[in-house]
């Protein structure tokens, strides 16, 4: 593609319609949900909000939430673009495994780290391009088209690592997983940078609007002269790039490429993050920052379960319960109720 490479991200205007004043931000169901989850965590573990500066980096449970949530947040950034086109990408977890495997095998065979990183990202781009071509040129439904790579991709990663966990001690790869940039863990920094870059680019260019148009009505988009196919390929390619980035983080974190487990089921967490963030699976309006917020909510919940001391048999029950609660909070009906109530409340306070 001669067009911008994939880190240009379609997002869009301020989500859903008109710009809202910052005050309204705090009445969004996602923000309320995050606040609730964090409060529960604080009740379970009083030191939850404490953040200290230690060894040149921020240290604390909140930072851990962001750090552990970063891979899913990065996946969610790419997934948002795909879902906005009315598609879905089930292969991102497998692409993470491929990317980690490529990087690990290259550094252990003596290649320089920069080359390994470039090769891993290129592998992600190629995977995304493959998905995009299946969806646009061959007109295969996205859920089926990406299922192919979801299944085959993990096998490919296992072939690359020959079924073992390929451990490495390359400082650059380890830095990507566990290093510190400006006091923040590298994964958090990468996720934030990717989110800001993608959001800015889609707001400053027409990509966001055009992607939304394709998602809302692909036929009308074609009639309006929009190159819908090219935009779709771009969205899937970007999702592949994001998955490769997340794969590098996952590998760097454990200093090894675990083809069997890296990114396993994370595609579902990424889709959930996008949905919690308010982007409809029917395509159209999307917001990258809100998807990232969705990923943070999911991770805050995971961390809460970890520190709660509940027996692990409760993990999935608690998690699904909280997710149902968030989705109810986020449904249009309760969102309206909530908004009306808060308005009434603030009116009352003013009086």
């Amino acid at each position: 593609m001669t067009r911008p490479t994939a880190h240009l991200r379609p997002s869009s205007k301020p989500p859903a319609g008109r710009p809202r004043p910052l005050a309204n931000f705090f009445t969004r169901p996602q923000v309320i949900a995050l606040a609730l989850v964090l409060c529960v965590n604080w009740l379970l573990f009083p030191g939850f909000f404490s953040i200290t500066w230690q060894d040149g980096r921020l240290f604390g449970s909140l930072i851990d939430v962001l750090n552990r949530g970063a891979p899913v947040a990065i996946l969610a950034i790419g997934m948002t673009a795909v879902i906005a086109t009315k598609g879905v990408d089930l292969s991102v977890g497998a692409v993470m495994a491929i990317s980690g495997a490529v990087a690990a095998v290259m550094v252990t065979s003596g290649q320089p780290a920069w080359l390994a990183v470039m090769a891993a990202l290129a592998a992600g781009l190629v995977c995304g391009l493959w998905n995009g071509i299946l969806v646009t040129v061959l007109q295969i439904q996205p859920i089926i088209a990406t299922l192919v790579l979801m299944v085959a991709g993990r096998g490919l990663a296992q072939l690359i690592t020959e079924g073992t966990i390929v451990t490495f001690s390359d400082p650059v790869l380890i830095f990507i997983g566990t290093g510190t940039v400006l006091g923040l863990p590298t994964p958090v920094f990468l996720a934030l940078a990717l989110m800001l870059a993608a959001t800015l680019i889609v707001r400053r260019t027409a990509l966001g609007l055009l992607i939304e148009a394709v998602g809302v009505n692909r036929s009308a988009a074609r009639f309006a002269g929009i190159s819908a196919g090219l935009l779709l390929v771009l969205a899937y390619t970007f999702a592949g790039f994001c998955a490769a980035t997340a794969g590098l983080i996952a590998a760097g974190d454990i200093r090894g490429a675990d083809a069997n487990n890296a990114g396993l089921w994370l595609e579902l967490d990424a889709i959930l993050a996008v949905v919690i963030g308010g982007t409809s699976l029917m395509g159209g309006r999307f917001s990258i920052p809100m998807s990232v917020l969705g990923a943070v909510i999911i991770q805050a919940m995971n961390t809460g379960i970890l520190i709660s001391g509940f027996s692990p048999e409760f993990n999935l029950v608690v998690k699904s319960g909280v997710i149902i609660l968030i989705l109810i909070l986020q449904s249009p009906i309760s969102a309206n109720l909530l908004r009306r109530k808060t308005t009434a409340h603030s009116d009352g306070a003013r009086r």
Partner: protein
């Protein structure tokens, strides 16, 4: 000619209302034994609604149905079937990968034999099809046969199931001439056996070839039911299009010569199975109207011009320079605009705002990196909304909340925003209210005066005559005539559509 037979099916005072739309209004219909009864009408006339009521798929809001003189109500198609009414649709709805025999007796084996007895089924299937003049391997999969054979099998099944009334909904749409002959032979035999047959098609010649009587619907009302013997094609077209009243001649009189330089030239564009090759030249300040019945190929011509469908050959010149138009994006780049017939499916972005709907084509033309600022968008949307009088409380509201007329005007605004050289409008006034209708006709006239070239497809003949410099007439997927100047009046168009008029000049390049 069959002699007078008893009335099999009678519908009286049928009405059906969807929301605020009267799909059928006080329609009477009757079908006699041993006749083929054609049901005609343009899109939206109420044909399919009436058929669905007769076959039990819909319940009427008023009126009554009688079968053999007994009043009946159908709650579902199975009840209609039990009363002897069967339907065969254009798309054969049998099971393609089951055998012919299985398809013929599907769902009925257990009640007759308790166990499925393959041999007996096959034997019966063979005998049954022989009565239709078909000697085929009934064990072979249905999909291995041609569409015509499948149609006859579907008819055989419907007659076996029902046996009194047969509804044929566009059965010949995908058949060639010999297949049509085969099918018609079967239909004539069934008619001779005393079945009543309702025949729906948009091929007028087939109506005259096969039918005894015709019922014509328009805008949900019955226009007439009469024997075809006393009618010619012109009469039928006139009644379908509703031009039996005095035409507004004072509206005509666009001076065909009052046009500027050549803007767009299409030559020898065509697409196999869709449109025969055509050539057409459009000038600055000229409206070329398109008339023809549904299915005559008028929308297909527009789709070729705009690159929605790929042309098999031919060239396009804009202002004397050749351009390549293989997709809509290239058409937009060349300065073309297209308001499609199906506004909801191909036109509006329901969840996007009115403003975004208006600026989207310009943004697509500008490319990904030259984004229109929010201020530019607001200014553009405001300007065109004012110009076309688009009534929206707020340009940030989703366009799906607007009325059809305002949506149509927004799509028109979308194309005006790219400052087009050539605009294609496919049924721009269908399904919109009277006020918006007038607004759009006024806009077409104004755009012509401002020097735009327009290609306007419409079923409203007096409207076409009112704003067109020339009118091309389409029949059977080809441009068959071109009318201009003194010849340009609704009656001549009707005759050209029906193919009964005096020899017209063939469509000129």
């Amino acid at each position: 000619m069959p002699q007078e037979h008893a009335t099999l099916l009678r519908a009286t005072g049928i009405a059906k209302i969807f929301g605020s739309h009267r799909a059928l209004d006080e329609v009477d219909f009757d079908l006699r034994a041993g006749e083929v009864h054609a049901l005609l009408g343009e899109n939206g006339a109420g044909k399919s609604t009436l058929i669905k009521i007769l076959t039990g798929a819909y319940q009427p809001d008023a009126g009554q149905l009688e079968v053999d003189g007994q009043e009946v109500t159908f709650r579902d198609p199975q009840q209609a079937q039990a009363h002897g009414i069967g339907t065969v649709y254009q798309e054969v709805n049998l099971l393609p990968n089951r055998s012919v025999a299985e398809n013929l007796f599907l769902g009925r084996q257990p009640t007759r034999w308790g166990l499925i007895r393959r041999r007996e089924i096959e034997e019966r299937a063979r005998e049954l099809l022989k009565t239709y003049g078909l000697d085929i391997d009934v064990r072979a999969e249905l999909s291995t046969f041609s569409v015509a054979i499948q149609q006859i099998i579907a008819i055989a099944r419907a007659v076996e199931l029902s046996g009194k009334v047969l509804v044929l909904d566009e059965p010949t749409a995908s058949l060639d001439r010999t297949e049509v002959d085969l099918l018609f032979k079967v239909v004539r035999e069934l008619k001779a056996k005393g079945l009543g047959i309702i025949f729906i098609t948009h091929f007028l010649d087939q109506v005259f070839e096969l039918s005894d009587r015709v019922t014509i619907l328009r805008n949900g009302r019955k226009i007439t039911t009469q024997a075809l013997a006393g009618l010619d094609a012109t009469d039928v077209v006139r009644m379908m299009l509703g031009k039996d009243v005095a035409f507004d001649h004072h509206l005509t009189g666009i001076d065909a010569a009052a046009r500027g330089a050549v803007r767009v030239e299409f030559s020898q564009m065509g697409r196999a199975g869709s449109v025969a090759p055509f050539s057409l030249t459009l000038h600055e300040g000229e409206v070329v109207g398109v008339a023809g019945l549904l299915g005559s190929g008028r929308t297909e011509v527009a789709r070729l011009m705009f690159g929605v469908d790929g042309a098999d050959g031919g060239t396009v010149m804009v202002d004397g320079k050749p351009v390549s138009i293989r997709n809509p994006a290239q058409a937009v780049a060349a300065g073309f605009g297209f308001c499609p017939e199906d506004r909801k499916a191909d036109g509006i972005f329901g969840d996007l705002s009115v403003r975004e709907n208006i600026i989207i084509a310009l943004q697509a033309k500008l490319g990904w990196f030259r984004a229109l600022s929010r201020e530019d968008q607001i200014e553009l949307a405001g300007r065109y909304a004012d110009m076309l009088d688009i009534r929206a409380a707020d340009h940030d509201m989703p366009i799906k909340l607007l009325s059809g007329g305002n949506q149509q005007k927004a799509i028109l605004a979308r194309w005006l925003a790219i400052d087009p050289t050539f605009l294609i409008l496919d049924e721009p006034t269908r399904g919109i209210d009277v006020g918006a209708h007038a607004e759009i006709v006024r806009t077409i006239n104004r755009l012509r005066e401002e020097g735009l070239a327009l290609f306007v497809i419409s079923s409203e003949l007096d409207e076409v005559v009112a704003y067109s410099n020339r009118v091309v007439v389409m029949r059977d997927r080809a441009m068959v005539a071109e009318l201009a100047g003194a010849d340009l009046e609704p009656d001549a168009i009707v005759r050209a559509i029906a193919g009964t008029g005096p020899a017209q000049a063939e469509a000129r390049p």
